[in-house]
């Protein structure tokens, strides 16, 4: 049994005037403990797909199964990190994390909740900022707290929708390392679905990269260096170049197709 199974899923957005097909018969299977990156050009439906897995939207056709059960809505077995503004502005950093812990029903006791919140703030290196409100923190820090909040809920599946898209390049690298440490190097690995449009980010993080073109999945590429080697070593391996070239080709092929199928000189 797969952890997440997306089976022939389509999604049609309808309003009174027009219809828009966002996903067209997409199928994807994700195993327990697997880190899957979904990559593709803007508007290809990758964020829509992840919102379906989260249970924030519902497919108009097809089914999504988690542990063999159909998804009927959001649930505490999945945690999600968004690109923007996902923290509760009216709560301090620590209370944001506690909110998630309470929501996941891990503990009843206030002291245990507090301790767990502190523990996860420490994991993302923000224990000193526990009592700050989100507006007092930089974008990167806010995103680290969002990650701490989601991880502290101890969900079996992590969904990350371009979590580092709005973070500056330097912090982005640090956050990627943090993600690897917290999600891949620990003992009980969670299944992760990570949406990005950054090729290097995908290669560095993923066990498997799913390339989407508008409405459907075009290609899946197995990766899998990150077991024990550092980033600069990854960059020097021939596999890295190979995967990167393949993804670049997919991206430019897509642009070419959209312009009109002619050969494009860039």
């Amino acid at each position: 049994m797969y952890k997440v199974e997306i089976n022939n899923v389509s999604l049609l957005f309808k309003d009174s005037e027009k219809e828009f097909l966002a996903l067209d018969k997409v199928s994807l299977k994700i195993e327990e403990g697997e880190f899957v990156c979904i990559i593709g050009p803007s508007g290809c439906g990758k964020s829509t797909l992840i919102s379906l897995v989260a249970g924030l939207n519902f497919p108009t056709e097809g089914e999504i199964y988690i542990d063999g059960k159909t998804v009927t809505g959001a649930g505490t077995n999945r945690g999600m990190v968004f690109q923007h503004y996902s923290l509760f502005l009216w709560l301090t950093a620590k209370k944001n994390v506690s909110f998630g812990i309470k929501q996941a029903n891990l503990f009843k006791d206030k002291k245990q909740i507090d301790e767990r919140a502190a523990e996860f703030l420490e994991k993302v290196g923000l224990e000193e900022y526990a009592d700050k409100y989100p507006y007092q923190l930089s974008g990167g820090m806010q995103q680290r707290i969002a990650i701490a909040r989601t991880l502290a809920m101890d969900t079996e599946i992590l969904l990350m929708d371009e979590p580092f898209g709005a973070v500056d390049p330097k912090n982005r690298l640090a956050l990627q390392d943090l993600t690897v440490n917290l999600c891949k190097k620990c003992e009980d690995r969670k299944a992760v679905v990570f949406v990005t449009h950054d090729i290097d980010e995908a290669i560095f993080l993923a066990d498997r990269i799913v390339f989407m073109e508008p409405k459907k999945i075009k290609e899946q590429i197995k990766v899998g260096f990150t077991k024990n080697i550092a980033r600069d070593q990854v960059l020097r391996t021939p596999e890295y170049m190979e995967v990167r070239n393949r993804l670049m080709n997919l991206f430019y092929e897509d642009i070419g197709n959209r312009i009109g199928g002619e050969e494009v000189v860039i």
């Binding site: 919102s51 989260a54 249970g55 924030l56 959001a74 649930g75 505490t76 999945r78 945690g79 999600m80 968004f82 923007h84 503004y85 996902s86 923290l87 509760f88 502005l89 009216w90 709560l91 909110f99 998630g100 929501q103 996941a104 409100y133 989100p134 507006y135 809920m153 969904l159």
Partner: protein, 310 residues
């Protein structure tokens, strides 16, 4: 450093245009005029108090232009008033009382004014509480539920712009006591705008906050009370601020119809006797009360909304 700065500000505001205006006013008060008047004691005390508050505000926070401007305005107004009534007697005595006699009312009639103040504040407080609690909770609930929103929003849109003063006489007629009628007027007048504002606030709420709460498995009651309500507190308070002035107007009008005490009652009673000295004092009193209440709202806002930048 900060002591020096305060001292410097103190000296700067002591030798300012405001002080000059204050001095001019004090000179005017003590020169013999063309019109007889009450003792200037209370008027002088109030003017001095305004001047001292100005000095205190300035020495504490440094000079701020709007405080300066408002103080200039007050003193210039008082100088014109004093000149045109007591000193030069340019205006009709019956319609334009001297500032001395107007401020004297605060001493002579203090009992009537204070009972009026407390009875008005009581009506306001009860009416406001009913409207705010019901309006916000129902608005929250109706705004969240698609069907209820589509049902009730058009109704609220029709009822909201009807000024409560229109049904004031009717409410006074059907309700047993004047007190309950006044409370009903305030509550009614405030309920619809509060309700409608809340529906709008819920409707225009940031989807990303709602999505992130949903993704954490937040259910409907917690979504309403722990996510949407706290997120909307600043909006609720600023709406409250706008409605507050309107309600005060409604209250004063309601009291003019049949109350036995109250700020509006005070003005109505003496304008019936053409006692414009007391009417003017009543207007100034209401102005002071509104200012104090506004300051309180600002304090509450600061206390409740620590998480916002501004």
């Amino acid at each position: 450093m900060s002591v020096n700065r305060t001292g410097f500000n103190l000296i700067k505001s002591l030798f300012s245009f405001t002080t000059l205006l204050f001095a001019a006013l004090m000179v005017l008060v003590f020169i013999p005029g063309k019109r007889e008047s009450e003792s200037p004691f209370v008027f002088v005390a109030v003017s001095s108090a305004i001047w001292l508050v100005f000095i205190w505000l300035n020495s504490r926070n440094g000079t701020r232009q709007h405080i300066k401007d408002i103080t200039y305005g007050i003193f210039i107004l008082l100088i014109i008033w004093e000149l045109s009534t007591r000193v030069l007697n340019l205006l009709t005595q019956a319609l334009f009382p001297t500032p001395e006699s107007v401020f004297q009312v605060f001493i002579n009639d203090y009992k009537l004014m204070w009972t009026g103040l407390f009875s008005s504040l009581y009506l306001l407080f009860v009416g406001f509480s009913i409207a705010l609690i019901l309006g916000n909770l129902l608005g929250l609930f109706v705004g969240w539920n698609d069907r209820l929103r589509k049902d009730f929003y058009p109704i609220a849109k029709v009822l909201c712009p009807i000024p409560p003063t229109i049904y004031t006489p009717y409410l006074i007629a059907i309700l047993p006591t004047f007190g309950s009628a006044s409370i009903a007027v305030v509550a009614f007048g405030l309920f619809w705008p509060t309700f409608m504002t809340m529906i709008n606030l819920v409707g225009s709420m940031d989807r990303r906050i709602i999505d992130s709460a949903k993704a954490m498995g937040v259910g409907t009651p917690a979504m309403l009370l722990k996510v949407i309500l706290p997120y909307q507190i600043p909006g609720i308070i600023s709406g409250f601020r706008v409605m507050f002035s309107a309600t005060f107007m409604v209250l004063v009008m309601a009291e003019m119809i049949g109350a036995q005490s109250g700020l509006g009652f005070f003005i109505k009673k003496f304008s019936d006797y053409a006692d414009y000295t007391r009417v003017a004092a009543g207007i100034i009193f209401i102005g002071i009360v509104i200012t104090v209440l506004n300051v309180l709202i600002t304090l509450v806002e600061k206390k409740c909304v620590k998480w916002k930048t501004n």
